[in-house]
Amino acid sequence: MEQEREQAQEREQAAGGGGAARTVGRRAVLGWAGAGVALGAAAAGGTAVALGGRDAPSGPDRQVVPFHGRHQAGIATPVQDRLHFAAFDVTTDDREDLVRLLKDWTEAAAAMTAGRAVGEGAVGGIPEAPPDDTGEALGLPASRLTLTVGFGPTLFDKDGEDRFGIAGRRPEALADLPHFPGDNLDPARSGGDLCVQACADDPQVAVHAIRNLARIGMGRVAIRWSQLGFGKTSSTTPEAQTPRNLMGFKDGTRNIAGTDTGALDKHVWVSRGDGPAWMAGGSYLVARRIRMHIETWDRAPLKEQEDVFGRTKGEGAAYGRKHEHDEPVLNRLPADSHVRLAHPDTNGGATILRRGYSFTDGTDGLGRLDAGLFFIAYQRDPRSGFVPVQRSLARSDLLNEYIQHVGSAVFAVPPGVGGAGDWWGRTLFS
């Protein structure tokens, strides 16, 4: 929606629109809240764009994030507004079936990320058969949809069984995560043989993508768990403000920028010498479902809240500094504050790219929201990325009083799909 409004605003400006339109535009760029104000002014233009969407992609290229490339999209890509993440169990033991699935998925993903429908489309087929595409994204633009696939440890070795003849290719970096103090992991919300991360600026587009991939996969995979994220909590765009989490704080302000190729190569992308060659250009994804006890948090005094993070709530500046992005001086922060414990300097330089989203999944039956952070991190090796950071946090982070890790998964994210003949996982399976 925001994209559409921006387009509408651009058109107005191109047509010599007045000052009012420009004001609206600047507000719209600020995001959801500002966009609400702009809605009336831009609605007409937005509708026109929507009608032209899907089967006939139109408008600026930035609505479409290129699917093909050396790395998978959805990692260094500027963080989209919404998330639908799904983990799958592979239900077939047949390697050929699995390979066919990955090829089918690749084809569908290339279509959907370009704003096109799956297969023969959602309408116009023979009346007695269900349409290939489920149809809820008809008329919507691509909305910067990215689909990112990952392979879990159990794909390589499930209870000692090498179902697909790839156990020998499992990277050492794809180690099972250790148990951290305080973990209360629900097996039904953890693990998975495969994962797909769908990010888009429109939640319907993200959900449509996961739903259609799940449907295509039936008989070969079954959804194990899935997570919706309604709001981004991190930014990979250095000039942008870091979005706030449900505690009202900016967290992860020192994130790796999607444009900082040096830092990406150093901390995110797997390089040729790191392990098995098939992972070169890939990355490792750690996902944690972190429940926040928001009701008790909301009763904490402001000073305590700020001490817990080690930064101000308003600006997000570390204690003793002025601005959000000012480098914190660690010894000026409370010893067990979150910023201090998560900082690379506290963890031997460990640096990860964060791409988490806030969630609320109804209630917990005790009159409280089941809310929190669906944490996603990308790194070159979890053993020198997420694991040391989380060890440090789990030990003494003041935040632990208000959070609990309830779901966990780790995946090897293979390199990008090169072109038309290529497919997700080709380097692993051929």
């Binding site: 239900t91 009346p127 007695e128 058969a129 269900p130 449907r215 039936m218 008989g219 070969r220 079954a222």
Partner: protein, 377 residues
């Protein structure tokens, strides 16, 4: 119950519409030259032609009236061939359907109520019906025989059940309950297409309309398991269940059946499993869901087996997958066998139910493509 209603509606329209298979694959062209123009006003329902050849028929509706309207095509006895609702004032709608030779009525219903303004139309010739593959014709005939066989088998099984109820024998009635449902469940989409019978015999408490009296299997199920006793009311209801099913048994052979209707009926049987049985909702007191589950799958397998010769020619990959998934689901179900039936479904844990559900999805998704494989020529 919404799923039920949908099922019945699909079966009904499918029954009448799908005789002409070749037409199914044709794309519709709403404003095509061959379309019959239907001009609806608040007081008129004008047709550009009242006689046209059988086969693929297109109606181009233009609502020139001031009220929202709907257009129905009725066959003899007001059997609905097709319908389109909510055509707003000033708007156009295209309706495409397959029609056999015969006499029909087209009705416009300004304000979407009443019998509507009707025009008689004649559909000439033999249409596309003549092109039916002889193998499909015999598949339909064999399936009709199967439907009657299952209905015939249901009656004595229901006798045993209702006799036990009439005797006031709770234990015996419990033992016969699930068995009495097997024939019905095997042919459920056809059975339910008799819209007057299904609400009397197979409705669940939550599916009742306001003011509707609760009768049938599930009412007795609740008495037998939840309350554990049989009173005078239950005995009367048992007699009524038998009467209703005997009535159904006499009529079920006349259901209109078509190859694509059979294929989608097979899929609907799996839908029944997916929405009612695998969740444990269908027999929530008796927990005999796995009996119904198996009967649904057996019925789907029967329809598929009859269509398989044609489907495997048109889409061998699909039938290979269906064979595999039918076998896989059968294997999963076998894990829960006990005696001549199944374990109580309340003993099947969450993880096991998910496995069953995954196996149902794995079969139902390719099964939804069977109709296309049958219609392909």
């Amino acid at each position: 119950m919404p799923a039920r209603r949908l099922t019945a509606a699909t079966a009904l329209s499918a029954a009448v519409v799908l005789t002409a298979l070749t037409g199914c694959a044709e794309k519709s062209d709403a404003a095509g030259d061959g379309a019959v123009q239907v001009t609806a006003t608040d007081s008129e329902c004008r047709l550009s032609r009242t006689e046209f050849p059988a086969g693929h028929v297109e109606l181009a509706v233009h609502n020139k009236g001031s009220k929202v309207t709907e257009v129905y095509v009725y066959a003899e006895g007001d059997r609905i061939v097709t319908e389109r609702e909510n055509i707003g004032p000033g708007t156009k709608a295209a309706i495409t359907t397959e029609m056999k030779a015969g006499e029909y009525e087209i009705a416009c219903k300004p304000g979407m109520k009443g019998d509507g303004i009707r025009q008689a139309v004649t559909v000439t010739g033999k249409g596309a019906a003549k092109k039916l593959d002889p193998r499909l014709a015999s598949a339909v005939a064999d399936y009709r025989a199967y439907v009657q066989e299952q209905a015939d088998l249901t009656i004595p099984a229901v006798w045993k059940f209702t006799d036990a109820v009439k005797d006031g024998d709770v234990e015996a009635a419990r033992a016969e309950y699930a068995k009495s449902r097997v024939g019905w469940e095997r042919i459920e989409p056809v059975a339910e297409s008799f819209g007057d019978i299904d609400p009397k015999v197979d409705v669940r408490e939550d599916g009742l309309e306001p003011g509707q009296e609760w009768t049938g299997w599930h009412r007795l199920e609740k008495a037998l398991w939840e309350e554990g006793k049989i009173g005078a009311d239950e005995k009367k209801l048992a007699a009524r269940l038998l009467t209703d099913l005997e009535d159904w048994n006499e009529r079920v052979g006349k259901a209109e059946l078509t190859p694509t209707g059979m294929a989608n009926g097979a899929k609907e049987l799996l839908d029944e499993v997916a929405t009612g049985k695998v969740t444990g909702e269908e027999n929530r007191y008796a927990h005999t869901d796995l009996w119904d589950f198996r009967a649904n799958v057996e019925g789907a397998k029967k329809a598929y087996a009859l269509l398989e010769p044609v489907a495997s020619e048109n889409d061998p990959e699909l039938t290979e997958e269906l064979d595999e998934q039918f076998a896989a689901l059968q294997d999963k179900l076998d894990d829960y066998r006990k005696g001549d039936g199944f374990v109580s479904y309340d003993t099947v844990g969450k993880a096991d139910r998910k496995e069953l559900s995954d196996a149902v999805n794995s079969l139902a998704e390719p099964l939804s493509r069977l109709a296309a494989a049958v219609a392909k020529q």
